[in-house]
């Protein structure tokens, strides 16, 4: 027994700690993935905007009638 902690208490702490750690790692992975999706969405939004602007410019260049 070190610092009043029994072997059983160490094992119980390890079991609960492992569960907490793995769930935390899982949430971190999901958070990283959501960050990537957000960047992709920004990129696609930028592409749509650029395309719209190009279309508007083309429309302005075409003589009416």
């Amino acid at each position: 027994m070190i610092l009043g902690v029994t072997t059983a208490e160490k094992y119980v702490a390890a079991a609960y700690g492992i569960v907490f750690l793995i769930v935390l790692v899982y949430v971190l992975i999901i958070a990283l993935k959501l960050g990537r999706l957000e960047r992709e969405l920004d990129e696609l939004t930028g592409q749509v905007r650029e395309r719209r602007e190009a279309e508007r410019e083309q429309r302005e260049q075409v003589p009416v009638g």
Partner: protein, 229 residues
């Protein structure tokens, strides 16, 4: 910004999981009496068994969604089956880790190959672990969805075998707590176990829905990218 749980069921589920986890931790460490036979280490039971049951539930849910995909051609069932199996494998890994720690303190061994319950759970875990090798070795499309669904359905057979192994085997160390006569534990222990099980199931359901939402957004973004190309 206020969190409107009535408008966001996922936020409500996450909040419920948080409350149940806090309640179960409080019950495990401040309410439930210490087991006369195993002592303090018996508290691993309140996390190990709910995690194992959650893993079974998600493997079963994955198989059910696989069946819906093959039978009704339900849209999105293949993705739901995949995410459920992913959750099942994560909780399966946690079952093996917490079980191993409990075995070491209770039996003096990290693992016993003679215990059919342990070996069958490992087989179930490895079977569903191989599901991902199959899934990522085939090009995305209907063929992959069908093959993965059939594989997920085969695995479901192992669930009752694994669950019943400790009841059918004769020589065993693994404890049998739930028998036909009901739970073999005090009322306070059973209450704590039920709260822990509810906490684990709601936590897993929250993670399942978060991962599923991420996968759906990913697939829609891919579609959008193809449309814009």
């Amino acid at each position: 910004m206020r969190l409107r749980t009535s408008e966001n069921p996922l936020a409500a589920l996450a909040a419920l999981a948080g409350v149940l986890i806090a309640a179960s931790v409080a019950l495990i460490f401040f309410y439930v009496p210490t087991d006369a036979d195993q002592g303090f280490s018996q508290r691993i039971f309140y996390i190990h068994v709910p995690i194992a049951l959650t893993a079974y539930a998600f493997f079963g849910w994955g198989a059910w969604k696989a069946l819906r995909h093959l039978w009704k051609r339900e849209p999105g069932a293949d993705l739901e089956s995949y995410v459920a199996i992913h959750q099942g494998v994560i909780f399966g890994a946690l079952t093996l880790l917490t079980g191993s720690l409990w075995a070491k303190i209770s039996w003096g061994h990290w693992w016993l190959w003679s215990e059919s319950q342990l070996v069958l759970f490992l087989v179930l875990f490895l079977f569903y672990g191989a599901y991902f090798m199959l899934r990522y070795s085939i090009e995305p499309g209907p063929a992959r969805a069908n093959m993965c669904a059939v594989y997920a359905l085969f695995g479901v057979v192992l669930i009752p075998i694994s669950f019943l192994a400790i009841r059918l085997a004769n020589q065993l160390i693994h404890p049998v707590v739930f028998t036909l006569q009901g739970p073999q534990m005090a009322g306070s222990m059973f209450l704590t176990f039920c709260v822990s099980l509810a906490a684990m199931l709601t936590l897993a359901a929250t993670l399942f829905h978060v991962e599923l939402a991420g996968k759906r957004i990913d697939s829609r973004l891919r579609e959008l990218r193809e449309l814009l190309a």
